[in-house]
């Protein structure tokens, strides 16, 4: 019997030390050349450094790889560099946004932010501890919750129609829901003005804002819910019907419970979609400064209108307040986003 030699597993796609040194030295040389170029040429500033580095790196990388491995490998290396740079360009604004919101917003953070409103305080007050966000947070919660009560049933019914009934309108409705998700938020606000405020109520209330937000929420909820319902195995529906259940019973007792966490995700994504929506609430709610619990009566402040008014006041103190408002809003949106991710992730397993 001959001994069987087990070959050592090889990973030919992994970079060898020599290749690593090569890549590293190309990077290093590009950085050095970029610094040199900025020093001798009229280029200047961060943009000068980055631009010079990008161009020099791409050229050197292309030339080196081309000399070693031929033309098509050179082109490949060039585009690999370009594509990697693109991700940097795409991520840069996100980091800049997050950093600037935290840096500019944290100054205005204080505990009374959540216990006082702007009734007896001015946006332009130099003392950032005066006044708070209580009215805005309460208003945002009420307005979004009302919008949710309106849009959740409609959104889920739409999704059920597309996945369970699959009637002859299923395709057109899918198309319409897609189109609806592109309706500009200001148009939703104008529509409520045209259809409800001018002919009927003649005054502003947060309920009208909720109606406009519901229009923006329905497509988000319907599309997410549809995706979730499509993931429910067909076997479950068939077994429900085989046990003698009507379609209503099957959907109510089998399909919907199975999709529960996904539907919660749809709900959260809908809330996150409209929580920061500014244009329609500015048009419709009046944006009050006092705490207001009645959704049918009078102006109600929300986080977006608070930020909007603070930004509009234009002084240093009011703009600091706007950034603080943005920080609170962003934390809420991030929390909702994370929650949706968490629930959505669990659903897949």
């Amino acid at each position: 019997m001959s001994t069987v030699t087990i070959p050592k597993p090889q990973k030919p796609w992994k970079a060898t030390p020599r290749q690593r040194i090569e890549t590293g030295s190309i990077l290093l040389i590009s950085v050095l050349l970029a610094v040199l170029l900025v020093a001798v040429s009229p280029l200047k500033g961060k943009l000068g450094y980055v631009g010079a580095f990008v161009v020099i790196y791409l050229i050197i990388d292309y030339v080196v790889v081309r000399l070693n491995h031929g033309k098509s490998a050179g082109v490949d290396a060039f585009f690999r560099g370009l594509v990697t740079m693109a991700i940097g360009v795409a991520v840069l604004p996100i980091i800049s946004i997050l950093v600037s919101v935290v840096v500019r917003g944290y100054k205005g953070l204080h505990l009374s932010l959540f216990t006082t409103d702007m009734q007896n305080a001015a946006f332009t007050d130099e003392n950032l501890a005066a006044g708070g966000l209580k009215h805005a947070i309460i208003g945002s919660i009420l307005i979004v919750a009302t919008a949710l009560v309106i849009s959740l049933p409609i959104g889920i019914l739409t999704a059920i129609y597309m996945t369970e009934i699959r009637g002859k309108f299923a395709r057109p409705i899918k198309f319409l829901v897609q189109s609806m998700s592109g309706v500009p938020s200001i148009v939703a606000g104008l529509f409520i003005l045209a259809a409800i405020v001018y002919p009927l109520t003649k005054f502003y209330s947060s309920f009208e804002g909720s109606l406009a937000l519901a229009i923006l929420m329905i497509p988000t909820i319907a599309r997410t819910a549809e995706e979730v319902l499509l993931l429910i195995p067909q076997d479950l529906r068939e077994s429900g019907v085989a046990l003698g259940g009507t379609q209503w019973r099957t959907v109510q007792q089998i399909v919907l419970p199975a999709a529960r966490s996904g539907l919660v995700t749809a709900l959260i994504l809908g809330v996150a979609r409209v929580a920061g929506e500014t244009a329609p609430v500015v048009l419709l709610t009046g944006g009050g400064d006092g705490t207001q619990w009645n959704i049918f009566k009078g102006p109600m402040g929300t986080l977006p209108t608070y930020i909007w008014k603070a930004f509009g006041s234009g002084t240093e103190a009011s703009i600091a307040r706007a950034w603080t408002g943005i920080l609170v809003l962003l934390v809420i949106v991030l929390f909702l986003f994370g929650l949706a991710r968490f629930l959505g992730g669990r659903k897949v397993k």
Binding site: L47, S72, V75, F79, R80, V83, T84, A86, I87, A90, P93, I94, S96, I97, S100, V101, P153, I154, L157, T158, I160, Y161, E164, I165, G167, F169, I173, L176, S179, M180, G182, V183, P184, I186, V187, L190, F191, L193, A194, A195, I218, P219, A222, Q247, W248, R249, A272, G276, E277, T278, A279, V282, L283, I307, I319, A322, W323, I326, V333, F337
Partner: protein, 333 residues
């Protein structure tokens, strides 16, 4: 043996009627769900009808001039009552401004988004991919007022610097020319902010389409000795081309309807301006928001008409985009 008696068999119960007719509860269920499902049609229809109803008198009195001229004059008499016959409303400058801003946005965002999608689909190791996908999705969840504030305070100083560079080195291109050195709040700045806002949606659609590239074609390309870029050029791009076009149009639709972010970074002027670096532009959605506060009843009717035009334009752009995206993936060999 013959004594066994044939006993009467008990009568069979009446045969159960087999039918495909839905039961009562199902009829109710189907009616409710269908009416819920049709709500999107009803809402879209109502938006059209009510905006048309409110803006009809303006569209009738101004006619085609409403979209071909740029005057915005609400004439009032001594008692502050609007005089419709002397008032002129035209949104040509706003429409062209919207188009200019969103075109700038799309032309900046599409290359970045497509390359990002390529990186995420074909280059990134799975750990980096996960983080990046989350970050890009997160970007889509940022409220537009955040982009507005960030654009105004953080991005604008840099963008103005870029605009000055463009003017200095590419001033001979008519678009980048300008009479007065006013770089603040220009269509260029608004376009840059919008491009950042639409990067997530264009990226996620491109990524989805690239992800659907048939594996056998990818492997066939590699087996023929293709490099990664060669594979992308020969297989992924032809497959995903129409999907990318659709994604870009979807981004265009989003950019056209954006209100608050543009309002903060764009100086709105009632004059058609093709010089994208000059601090004067137009935007239908922002104009509505700006004018609305102090508008007379007649002006509000005109704003409704402007809203109707915006609604129709975005609806058409989005519908075309949806059709293209839905059809993509079937194309390309």
């Amino acid at each position: 043996m013959s004594s066994s008696q044939v006993t009467e068999r008990p009568a069979l119960p009446a045969k159960r009627q087999l039918t495909t007719k839905p039961r009562f509860s199902d009829k109710v269920f189907r009616t409710v769900v269908t009416s819920g499902g049709l709500s999107s049609l009803i809402i879209l229809g109502m938006i059209f009808i009510f905006l048309l109803y409110q803006g009809f008198s303006i569209l009738q009195s101004q006619g085609f001039h409403f979209i071909s001229t740029s005057d915005w004059n609400a004439v009032v008499d001594d008692n502050n009552v609007p005089v419709p016959s002397q008032s002129h409303f035209g949104i040509a400058a706003m429409l062209i401004g919207t188009l200019v801003c969103s075109t700038i946005a799309v032309s900046i965002a599409v290359p970045i988004s497509v390359f990002t999608a390529l990186f995420l689909t074909f280059y990134a190791p799975s750990s980096i991919k996960k983080i990046m996908v989350t970050l890009v999705d997160l970007m889509a969840a940022f409220p537009s007022i955040l982009y507005g504030l960030w654009g105004f305070f953080v991005l604008m100083p840099s963008a103005v610097y870029w605009a000055k560079l463009l003017h200095k080195f590419f001033g001979w291109i008519p678009f980048f020319n300008m009479q007065a050195p006013v770089f603040d709040r220009s269509p260029f700045v608004a376009g840059v902010v919008l491009s950042i806002m639409i990067i997530p949606i264009v990226t996620s659609i491109s990524r989805e389409i690239f992800g659907q590239t048939p594996l056998d074609r990818i492997q066939a390309a590699y087996a023929l000795g293709s490099t990664r870029w060669g594979m992308i050029r020969a297989v992924a791009f032809p497959y995903a081309r129409s999907g990318i076009v659709g994604g870009a149009m979807l981004g265009l639709g989003r950019a056209m309807g954006e209100t608050v972010a543009v309002y903060t970074v764009l100086n709105i002027v009632y004059q058609i301006n093709w010089h994208v670096l000059l601090g004067a532009g137009g935007n239908v959605a922002s104009m509505i928001l700006m004018k609305f506060g102090e508008a007379t009843p007649l002006e509000i009717k005109a704003l409704m008409a402007a809203g109707l035009i915006l609604f129709l334009v975005t609806l058409i752009v989005n519908s075309i985009a949806d059709v293209i995206v839905a059809k993509s993936g079937k194309s390309g060999r």
